[in-house]
């Protein structure tokens, strides 16, 4: 119940294309869904996050889509650039808990 399942494990997209990474969860008590971005040799850093009271959040080329009934959320990267090549982690947390539950990670490669 505490798991967050992320797919795909790896993804290759051409420059200018749309990258889509999906996550699914079971615990309906989760109420905060962040995405973290990790470049090689660095720790993960918060990219964008959403609360379940909205269905979509956009920041620049990055969009989170949230489907509460399906218990799924996804990250869309529009106009993907080589500089977006990184590992992406989805995560979830519920109020009262103080630890994030992370997905397995997606290694994204954007080909120039």
């Amino acid at each position: 119940q505490q798991q967050v399942k992320q797919s795909p494990q790896s993804l290759i997209v051409q420059k200018g294309g749309i990258s889509i990474i999906n996550c699914a969860y079971e615990n309906t008590a989760f109420d905060y869904f962040p995405w973290y971005q990790q470049f090689p040799g660095k720790g993960p850093a918060l990219l964008i996050a959403i609360r379940p009271d909205v269905s979509e959040k956009k920041e620049g080329r990055f969009t989170i889509s949230f489907n509460k009934s399906a218990k799924q959320f996804s990250l869309h990267i529009m106009d993907s650039q080589p500089g977006d090549s990184a590992t992406y982690f989805c995560a979830a947390i519920n109020q009262g808990a103080q630890k994030l539950v992370f997905g397995q990670g997606t290694r994204l490669t954007i080909n120039p």
Binding site: G41, G43, P44, A45, Q98, K99, F102, Q104
Partner: protein, 119 residues
Amino acid sequence: DVKVTQSSRYLVKRTGEKVFLECVQDMDHENMFWYRQDPGLGLRLIYFSYDVKMKEKGDIPEGYSVSREKKERFSLILESASTNQTSMYLCASSLGPGLAGFLLAYEQYFGPGTRLTVT
């Protein structure tokens, strides 16, 4: 900017050695975390601490212990290193519950990681 530093970027130890990984944060955060990162398994929580001298087991605490004597410092200890503990170790901190908004309270800031090899 929040800064989380880890004592070593790369570490090579022998089986059976006692290993200390140190983490320091400079933002007066309440919560600190230790994760290990392995390909295909994501970030798995080993231990976390929500206050000085307080700790809670995460998902994979076996073979590890932690120490938090000061608010800014959180140490991960491998009592007797084994080859299956070869991994990337990441430390993180978060503000913790309180007056800050929910999103601010739980955003985790990560260190650069320590790649530990046990031979």
